[in-house]
């Protein structure tokens, strides 16, 4: 088996005019370039969303602070949530999926390269449309304002009665457009995985990352569609005299909640399953062991995919559903803890008996394991509906889902950056800066999100621009805000590391981590055609087989 790319003499292209390079990036249909575009785009929005979070935390540092007005604060949390979910987390997930899936299954590109580019640009312009509200939302250019309806935009706050001007329309259209992009990419990933696997790669021999992205894409198709429908209904309400969510005319505010959360909860799994995917690739390599219980991991993921579609109303325990409905959603929500627990145990068993090397990617993965454990346990607390009647919509919930999204997802995304950066650029990330990033971010994360649970338990609701003194919330909010600065510092180190390593990092070679999946068999960065000859494989770890011809995996699988 020869999977090495043809070694061409390196052609110097540096003298190319900038416009040419730009033209190439804008018109590219190469999955690797689109993947990088997604990722860079997401990083830009990560910084913007982070600044919005910082503004909120400065405002909340003490009671009755007036760093910003209530109007600005409300816009900040709406934009922070919307940006982080739709224009940071989703593009990051799709970026890595785009880059890695074809390489890992030994394909030359995605199944529909042009759809791929189209989807990316839809997502990109969706984000721009959302932020264009700052300029155009009040009709007169330059007099706009960001939407202030919250990221789940409950009706009837979004009706024209309560949301005058066009800021809500920009929110709706931004999500509608990027939603079409997400559905396009998801269909593309599904098709790629089903149709373009290299010879020998049966479904049961795909790397876990590919399996997990397969499930994720299936969920995107099922979950984003209702959101898209709801956005259209909202537009009909606002401009064509519809009454779907118009409570004055017999419409239902609750139906919006159902539409939103039947998207919103699967969305959590859409984001966290790729995080699981990164952990499932990185932990084995740095423990020097095969993933423990591969078939069970696949089954657990599929299980999460199915159960994940039936838990949405646990976001609605306080809206007055019948006790039967509440009980059903308690059961389905608690049930999802089982496959998730299985995954944690399998990662644990993968490390068990291994030789764990604490390079930066592994550090972030270990952080993820501990933090995701806690996030899961607070999730169980919230799944007990009566407990949720107290905790729902409080800072406890905010702490919980940030534990999932930052402590779980963002940590593995950082791990993925450090792990695949050498493949994408041909250069290693700096280890010292990487570790500094890890420790700064870890400290910041725990200062912020550990202590954020407490004001929730003490009765502090979310989305308030200020609070009364004497509620016992002051000190916790102060600590939370201090943590944000550590996280910001960590992120600065991260960006500096990426930039420095891109220009000055030491050469990576094809396989710097001594890893086992197909992407490490080609050049770093891979040529446009990925593989000189399409590889053929016999096991889940083709490079292990190559490196250990005496003890290949296919004998045991």
């Amino acid at each position: 088996m020869s999977t090495d790319a043809i070694a061409l003499p390196r052609t110097e292209l540096a003298s190319r005019p900038f416009v040419d390079a730009l033209h190439e990036w804008v018109t590219t249909v190469d999955h690797k370039r689109l993947g990088i575009l997604y990722i860079v785009y997401a990083l830009v929005f990560l910084v913007i969303g982070g600044i919005e979070a910082g503004v909120m935390r400065i405002q909340l540092v003490r009671p009755h602070n007036d760093f910003v007005s209530p109007q600005v604060f409300n816009r900040m949390f709406t934009m922070h949530g919307t940006t982080m979910i739709f224009f940071v987390a989703m593009p990051l997930v799709f970026g890595f999926a785009n880059y890695l899936v074809p390489l890992m299954i030994g394909a030359r590109d995605m199944a529909f390269p042009r759809l791929n580019a189209f989807s990316f640009w839809l997502t990109a312009f969706g984000g721009l449309l959302l932020y264009f509200s700052l300029v155009g939302a009040n009709g007169l250019y330059g007099a706009g304002n960001a939407p202030d309806v919250g990221w789940f935009a409950y009706a009837p706050l979004t009706s024209r009665t309560f949301s005058v001007g066009h800021s809500t329309d920009f929110w709706t259209l931004g999500l509608l457009v990027s939603g079409f992009g997400s559905i396009g990419t998801a269909i593309n990933i599904l098709t790629t995985i089903l149709c373009l696997r290299c010879p020998g790669m049966s479904l049961g021999k795909m790397p876990l990352l590919v399996w997990l992205n397969f499930v994720m894409s299936g969920m995107v198709v099922l979950a984003v569609s209702p959101l898209t429908a709801a956005q259209l209904m909202l537009l009909v309400d606002r401009y064509l005299g519809g009454h779907f969510f118009d409570t004055q005319a017999g419409g239902s505010a609750v139906i919006w909640m159902h539409f939103f959360w039947i998207f919103g909860h699967p969305e959590v799994y859409v984001l966290v399953i790729p995080a699981f995917a990164f952990a499932s690739e990185i932990i084995p390599v740095f423990s020097r062991k095969a993933i423990f219980g591969y078939p069970v991991m696949v089954a657990a993921t599929i299980c999460i995919g199915f159960i994940g579609m039936s838990v949405w109303a646990h976001h609605m325990f306080t809206v007055g559903m019948s006790s039967n409905a509440n009980t059903f959603f308690v059961l389905s929500t608690m049930a999802i803890a089982v496959p998730t627990g299985i995954k944690i145990f399998n990662w644990l068993a993968t490390m068990w008996g291994g030789k764990i090397e604490f390079k930066t990617p592994m550090l972030f993965c270990v952080g993820f394991l501990f933090q995701f454990l806690i996030a899961g346990l607070t999730g169980i607390m919230l799944s007990a509906a009566p407990f949720d009647w107290q905790l729902g919509n409080s800072y406890f919930v905010v702490a919980h889902f940030h534990y999932v999204i930052v402590g779980g997802i963002l940590f593995t995304v950082f791990a993925a950056f450090y792990y695949w950066f050498p493949k994408m650029t041909g250069r290693m990330c700096d280890e010292t800066l990487g570790k500094l990033h890890f420790w700064l971010f870890l400290i910041g994360f725990h200062l912020t999100f550990d202590f954020m649970h407490i004001p929730g338990l003490l009765g502090m609701p979310r989305r308030i621009y200020t609070y009364e003194p004497g509620r016992g919330w002051d000190i916790w909010n102060l600590i939370v805000t201090i943590g944000v600065f550590f996280q910001a510092l960590g992120t600065l180190v991260f960006v500096a590391n990426l930039l420095w390593s891109y220009f000055k990092g030491k050469a990576a070679g094809n396989d710097p981590w001594d890893a086992w999946t197909l992407e490490w068999s080609t050049n770093s960065p891979p040529p446009a055609y990925n593989f000189a000859t399409i590889p053929a494989i016999k096991s889940r770890r083709p490079l292990w087989d190559l490196k250990h011809p005496d003890d290949p995996d296919w004998k045991y699988e």
Partner: protein, 398 residues
């Protein structure tokens, strides 16, 4: 391990069943839960005898753990209140207490899981790290084990079953709809950004400060709050009295409270409802039955009539004030803003945003943005004389 949550939930069921028979007994749920747990353990409890003997030592540890949690909670009971007036762990009504009981159970189970998994993770990360003197060979490759997978599937399933049953019981209990004869009924209507309270049977309308009678086990007087919204979604959350329930337009909800203590209980709107969501504060005054009845009597009187056409009243009745506010017995019958008939009987104005003093009242009329930016109260643009007269008139609305 797996037997504890199950046993514990069995105890919890027993307790809850007891409670159904003999309503609130003054003790808190967690305390009863523990007592029943110990009692059941002492007499060997036939259905669980096997489990009990087999796991007696670990069960003891679990008991110790619960005792520790409970005694910590009990000894800090006053601390819990002084820590925050809105602490969910200082419940004073039946539903808040059953939620508290369930929370302690869920916290205990999740804490146990946390300790075990955290220890395993830490152990493996420390024990299996690559050593400095590593021989460079790959460790033995293990691909999986069906027995182990089965074990860590079945144990979590059992834990989930236990948690689910305990939770289902509390849901059914708190969402009971049966209505005792002696219940007080209040309609709470959420507005941007204040609360309207109507007592239909008692003929009282007020705003922002809810008065309810205390409910003790001898004379239970629970309050049924019907929750409506005049505009966007809101949520009624007074953590020490009950979990939150949303107020959604065109979707009536209701909830029960039966406070066991007199006093002022705080909370605030817990569903984002617009610009001033943050200053839509809740104040619930729990009074003895006598005090409550007296309060009702006072609220039922028409507005205090000062010298018939005072200057302030004339200003009130000839400006935009009456479009939104009601003063019973006068021409002012607006419904958009709070009823002002007995404004002076309230401790705060602007939905709890600021104390009800003449200075604050004057400022509120002159420049609401100074107190609550984004509220729907307009600045009245009056000259100083008129402002003083108007404030003086409002001061007479006792």
């Amino acid at each position: 391990m797996c037997a504890f949550p199950f046993r514990a939930s069995v105890f919890l069921f027993k307790h809850l069943r007891c409670e159904e028979q003999s309503q609130a007994r003054g003790k808190t749920i967690a305390h009863d839960f523990l007592a029943i747990a110990q009692e059941a353990d002492a007499r060997g409890d036939p259905p669980n005898a096997m489990a009990s003997t087999r796991h007696s030592s670990t069960l003891g540890v679990f008991h110790l753990f619960l005792v520790a949690i409970w005694s910590a909670a009990a000894s800090t009971d006053t601390a819990a209140q002084s820590m925050s007036p809105t602490n969910i762990f200082a419940p004073v009504s039946t539903s808040a207490k059953s939620i508290f009981g369930l929370s302690i159970f869920v916290l205990a189970v999740t804490a146990a899981i946390f300790v075990v998994v955290f220890a395993l993770l830490t152990y493996s990360v420390v024990k299996f790290r690559k050593r400095a003197n590593d021989d460079g060979r790959e460790p033995p490759q293990v691909y999986g084990s069906n027995q182990v997978e089965l074990a860590w599937t079945v144990i979590p399933v059992l834990i989930v079953v236990a948690l689910f049953m305990a939770t289902a019981r509390v849901i059914a209990d708190v969402q009971k709809t049966a209505r005792p004869d002696n219940a007080i009924e209040v309609i709470a209507i959420g507005h941007q950004f204040w609360w309207e309270y109507r007592y239909p049977a008692l003929g009282v309308v007020t705003a922002n400060e809810l008065h309810v009678p205390v409910s003790d086990s001898n004379h239970p007087t629970p309050t049924l709050i019907k929750l409506l919204s005049a505009d966007t979604d809101h949520s009624f959350w007074v953590p020490r009295l009950a979990g939150k329930t949303d107020l959604i337009p065109n979707h009536p909800n209701s909830m029960w409270i039966d406070p066991h203590q007199t006093g002022l209980f705080l909370g605030q709107c817990a569903q984002y409802c617009g610009t001033q969501h943050a200053k839509m504060l809740l104040r619930v005054y729990v009074q003895s039955r006598d005090e409550f009845d007296r309060w009702i009597q006072e609220q039922r009187r028409p507005a205090f009539a000062s010298d018939a056409a005072s200057r302030g009243q004339r200003i009130f009745e000839t400006t935009a004030c009456i479009n939104c506010h009601t003063v019973a017995g006068t021409v002012a019958d607006g419904r958009f803003g709070p009823d002002l008939t007995h404004l002076m009987s309230r401790d705060t104005i602007a939905a709890g945003a600021t104390p009800n003093t003449p200075q604050n009242l004057r400022l509120w009329i002159r420049d609401p943005e100074a107190i609550k930016p984004g509220s729907l109260m307009p600045a009245m643009e009056l000259n100083d004389q008129d402002l003083n007269a108007l404030t003086a008139y409002l001061e007479t609305l006792r």
